[in-house]
């Protein structure tokens, strides 16, 4: 198990989120050395495991914890997803924002700090990949659009990814056309194909820096 008592923890749904954050933050001036990670990122093997009653509460109460950030996908509805997270946190943070603001949530209570960000941008429906697509569009908007069209056309030719997985298919299609085709998200951020300074990336980075005090 990772270092249990890191005072700053980021809770994410899965390994993709975990591998996106460090390179994104490093490209924005937050050093991320292997041996002294500024924030401990914990994955939960899927949203239901993270939302299971008791999990977030126990993390908020765990000894040595000072700052907790939670990043999850909106999927169908950002507000609904926020309410699900809020329900788990309200016991420890009674004054948590009733509605999710577009800048994400940051709240302090009794020396404990909580942050919540609903991918892609606290408003739209979607997921991590939706967010990453905006980073791609920043420098390659035509190619990104073309990849989208290709995905839609592929449907009519028998491609059987589900509707809800569109953004995942989309970004991976676009990635297939980058130098190092099919690179991991983190690599694409380091190489700049995914623009870490796009306006959407900057909004997330601002939330992160503010929450974790970098």
């Amino acid at each position: 198990m990772t270092n249990q008592n890191h005072p700053k923890k980021l809770l994410v749904e899965g390994p993709d989120d975990k591998h996106v954050v460090p390179p994104l933050m490093e490209a924005n001036g937050v050093a991320w050395p292997d041996k002294h990670r500024p924030v401990e990122i914990r994955t939960f093997d899927g949203l239901p495991k993270l939302l299971k009653p008791g999990v977030i509460e126990a993390l908020l109460k765990s000894s040595g914890t000072r700052i907790v950030g939670i990043v999850v996908d909106a999927d169908e509805n950002a507000q609904t997803r926020y309410q699900e997270i809020r329900a788990r946190c309200i016991g420890v943070f009674p004054e948590l924002d009733p509605i999710l603001p577009s800048t994400g949530v940051i709240k302090t209570h009794n020396e404990l700090k909580l942050g919540i960000w609903i991918m892609p941008n606290n408003e739209a429906k979607g997921m991590l990949e939706t967010f990453l697509l905006t980073l791609a569009s920043s420098t390659q908007s035509q190619l990104v659009r073309y990849a989208r069209e290709a995905c839609e056309r592929a449907r009519s030719l028998g491609a059987n990814y589900k509707n809800v997985q569109m953004d995942k298919a989309h970004i991976r299609t676009w990635l297939a056309w980058q130098d190092e085709p099919g690179a991991l998200f983190g690599t694409a951020i380091k190489s700049g194909s995914l623009d870490p300074k796009s306006s959407e990336a900057t909004a997330f980075v601002a939330w992160f820096r503010n929450l974790f005090e970098f």
């Binding site: 198990m1 009653p53 008791g54 126990a58 109460k61």
Partner: protein, 351 residues
Amino acid sequence: MISDLVIEGFRGFERMELHELGRINLLVGTNNCGKTSILEAIRLLRGDRDPAAIVEILSSRGESMEPQRHGTSREPDVRYLFNGRSLELGRQLRITEDYAGQSRSLTMSIAERTPAKPEESSWGLLCDWQGARKTSFKVPLSLQGGLMPMPLPPRPESAATAIVVPANGLTAASAIRQFESLVLTPKEGIVVDALRIIEPDVERLATKGADWRLRDTHDRGGIIVKTSDCEEPLPIGSLGDGMWRMFGLALALASADGGVLLIDEVDSGLHFQVMERMWKLINETSRRLSVQVFATTHSRDAYESLAVIAREDVSEGSEITIQRINRAKGKSISFNEQEIIAAAEHGIEVR
């Protein structure tokens, strides 16, 4: 069942509140955070018919003084009960519980007293219990602030006092005495049933040949066990790891019937593999006898194994809690069953 506890001015606590208490409460926290003091506070609060508790609590920590008069017993040093460890008129501590919607409290204070003997000072320790059952008495203090011997009322049979299992376990003499007081009563069966949770082959227990030389040691002589798979009875110690500790716990649970059980260092003497069964014994027997349990531990294994029991236990309500004690915060951090299970599953540090 005690639902809330407030401790003021006692030992290292200016103020400490514990809320959302359940049937089994495991107290955790760093060394010296006051876990054992909380057990003592509950014992004192429940000790309106057990004034010897004050003496035992101070003596067990070595907090006593040479007597003024040579040849008499040591005097418990009362200032160690009070936060700040000083004695002056009016110095006070209070312990309050909420129990089934009713409040009960114990206030101990230094009050004036007319000395009846030359060794007595003009101060006394006033012990005042308020609630459904009121009791009050004043114990004389010696000229050096020690508790003078007081004539103790005999401990009544049905005294609803808190039962204590100390960290280093029972002495053989104590175990034998307790078992002999239960033998041939319905509680003997409860002790055997409790042991069967750990060792299903146990049939009967008896005391035999208790050697006076073992009296106050921690040797395990004097209790024998008949198991179904063995023709001859065996000394209880031969049954292996932790059986003696389990026996002590079973006896204590049976004695606590309907009341409160205080276990210091619940994991002491037990290998982590045995701990799940220990909690099973405590959980099932405490539920059966309506005993509320407060236990302390330093051990991660202790709360992770408690999580296993919490997961298997399908009854409703906040039966099992973990309370993290930190003196700097005036309130414990309370973990309910779901949070205990989550903490164990995800390696989250609760201590």
